[in-house]
Amino acid sequence: MLKKAAVMSALAIAVLCLSAISDAQTDPGVQSGSRGTGAALSSVQSDDNAGILAMFNDGQSRFQEVESVSGAGDTGLGPRFNSNSCSSCHAQPAVGGSGAANNPQATFISTGVAPKDSTPYFVTPTGPTVEARFPFYFNRNGSANLNAPNGGVEDLFTVTGRPDAGSCSLTQPSFSAARAANNIIFRIPTATFGSGLIENIDDSTLLSNQAKNLNNRLGISGTFNHNGNDGTISRFGWKAQNKSLHIFSGEAYNVEMGISNLLFTQDRPLPGEEGGGGSGQTGFPSNCLNLSGKGYPEDTMNPGQSGPGVLDDASAFANFMRTLAPPATGPVVLNGSTVPTSSISNGAALFSSIGCAACHNPTPGTTQKSNITGSLSNAAVNAYSDLEIHHMGSGLTDNVAQGGAGGDQFRTAPLWGLGQRIFLLHDGRTTSLITAIRAHNSRGSEASTVEGNYQNLSPSQQQDLLNFLRSL
């Protein structure tokens, strides 16, 4: 009897130990305490370069405007769009950030934003706010045409049936067919805090980092994406496909909200809607053009205004993002208790030692002298990114090429602000840091060895690393 009890006890202990091992690491999760994220750069707050604070405030206000198709107020939405406001996507943990916990796209049908559309199968109330792309065009039988790469954004919604959209009637892209053909990928919004600092790092600094970083024993060799117009290093977007914040905001205004502007001057049909993939289509029908009734571009400068009001929206957005302060680090709460600072500092050291910092460079450089405001001059950019593009392997590939980046190449995602991000990786497939780290290991990934180093750490070391990441 005693012997049996001893065996049972041993078994119970073994089970407990196994349980402890499997639960040994916990992602502390999204840190809810305020870290002051979303504020202006300190020099902007003190109006260094008189008028810059007014410009920030104006841009922040416009960033939150809800656009209509026509009528009074802010117009130009559509005919196709993913959302009707910048801040509806860039919301977490503050205006300018990444996707929020509650996806506004899930309400667009019921609230009349897109009254005649259907909510795409992948849009859920608590899922990530997304844009969708079809890597390949369809053949006429619904197959993916693997010889015809597409990759352009397939806007989720149309203005069909809105009272301010006249007779314009459009069909949503074939999302269900795309799912059936496994021909759909997603992207989530990137956070824009501190982006003015990223914009103001000189190319020579990045090139010097790259040369230095090639001396690693991790199998990592990144490269840069370049702007096709002038050949300089581009740095915004999931594949570093956008050169500047002006380009970034102008493109998003056009692609995500359907609003033509001074940088992208025409309404944008879907890739196949203007003949891509041999569809034979020739763009929007005439009753879907100039829906605002104001002519093109729908967003333009306002010469009759004074102060920041003279700017076009796309410029105001860019100025707002450019002058947003970088995210501050903060304490980490895990299971209701504040994590000791020693754990976070140990995690920071581990992050560097095992090779994460080879790509997620804590400080890729200091900015050049800025002609905008003092805080953008000679400032350390603690972005945790080398701004290079790297092969991330078959597990993360989205088979979308952008500029010089191929289907499996992504910009090293800046990790500043990670502590308060909800959805992770380019498509928001996970909310778990542990899953995101594991996803770095797949066929053809440059990060497999570093992921292996992470797996070689002890459970407590791994926990320190996770705690550190949520402190960012």
């Binding site: 693997l146 009637s169 074939s174 090139l207 040369a211 078959s394 010089g404 289907g407 066929r443």
Partner: protein, 352 residues
């Protein structure tokens, strides 16, 4: 009268057929021209209701849309990235290297394609799932010395550079020193991370003008010692050595800068159809008559591959002579944008 009446009736019938048929046709046309909501197949739209043809799906987890990638002018000549793990060994025909894997180890995933700085991930080995009690990595890489961004001409210089530029996270355990692996000379150094308690052992030799590096890492130093001993079972070519790996024998001799003006008799520059901004490192094998026999693009877009192939096919070199005999020679040329680090070291460039 009856006959005439019948003829009239036939005309009336024909007229009705035309009328009704035309009406149906115009109705159909009208539907087509006015129904803007109808889903059209092709482009971004599909009803996917054909049913007659099997649906072609995008294969899961396959990189189909590639950026700059590696390729070669033929599929027969071995390539540095062409090695693989099979039969419990890593085998590479280009380097004539065979490494029997330790028991319980395997390659879960192949590495990335060669980089535009000439770096290869040849194999990345881990304990297999069933063997999770063991924790460590074995990484086998190669660096093309024609395109290296490091100021190092051979394996020992490379290790010395690593030692001199070791990141502050690490402490040296073993200064670069010479050792023998499977009878060939290697450089060896070791360092560790006090915070991660991870140790790295680096072993480096030179084959065909590449440094070939084996990086073993683990928290378990006994495991490292065991893995180190296991390396002695590696098969290597005769040329392998700290600074001796310059090809020859059954493979071409490798010579840096052979594509310089003193050896090129005639050359045609590639005409690129579009502007790209990437470095395009290219290794070529020149035959005994001075013609380009084989082209290996380490990293190039398809359009660059075509333009460079067309051009190199027209280049003529002085035959490379050893001991009075012409022999095949392997060299490197950098097309496109030369990386900043490489440019600073005066790497061979097609743009002279």
């Amino acid at each position: 009268m009856v006959r005439r009446r019948g003829r009239v009736m036939r005309w009336v019938f024909r007229f009705l057929v035309i009328l009704v048929g035309g009406g149906v046709l115009s109705y159909a046309l009208g539907q087509d021209s006015t129904s803007k909501n109808a889903v059209r197949n092709g482009g971004d739209f599909s009803t996917a209701a054909d049913g007659a043809t099997p649906l072609v799906k995008v294969p899961e987890g396959v990189i189909l849309v590639k950026g700059a990638w590696s390729s070669a002018s033929d599929s027969v000549t071995p390539l540095p990235e062409g090695g693989s793990v099979s039969g419990n060994a890593y085998q590479n025909d280009y380097f004539k290297l065979r490494y029997p894997l330790p028991a319980g180890w395997g390659q879960q995933y192949e590495g990335p394609p060669p980089s535009d700085s000439g770096r290869y991930v040849l194999a990345q080995l881990r304990p297999e799932e069933r063997n999770r009690g063991i924790r460590g990595n074995i990484l086998i890489t190669a660096q093309d010395l024609f395109f290296t961004p490091l100021p190092a001409a051979d394996a020992l210089q490379t290790l010395t550079f690593v030692k001199d530029n070791l990141e502050s996270d690490y402490k040296l355990e073993q200064l670069p020193t010479q050792t023998k692996i499977a009878g060939r000379s290697f450089g060896f150094m070791a360092y560790w991370s006090p915070v991660a308690q991870l140790h790295w052992y680096l072993l480096e030799t030179e084959i065909r003008c590449h440094t070939v590096e084996m990086v073993i890492s683990s928290q378990d130093t006994k495991l490292l010692e065991s893995l180190l001993l296991g390396l002695d079972k590696t098969t290597l070519p005769d040329e392998a050595g700290l600074s001796s790996g310059k090809g020859g024998g059954s493979v071409p001799v490798c010579v840096k800068d052979y594509a310089s003006s003193r050896n090129v008799i005639s050359r045609v520059d590639p005409v690129f159809a579009e502007t790209k901004y990437n470095p395009v490192p290219v290794r070529i094998i020149i035959d005994k008559q001075g013609r380009v026999k084989h082209i290996h693009f380490l990293s190039a877009f398809d359009s660059q591959t075509k333009a460079i192939s067309d051009a190199l096919g027209q280049w003529r070199f002085k035959p490379y002579v050893v001991g009075g005999q012409a022999v095949e020679v392997e060299t490197g040329i950098m097309f496109g944008r030369v990386g900043s680090a490489a440019a600073a070291r005066g790497q061979p460039s097609a743009i002279e």
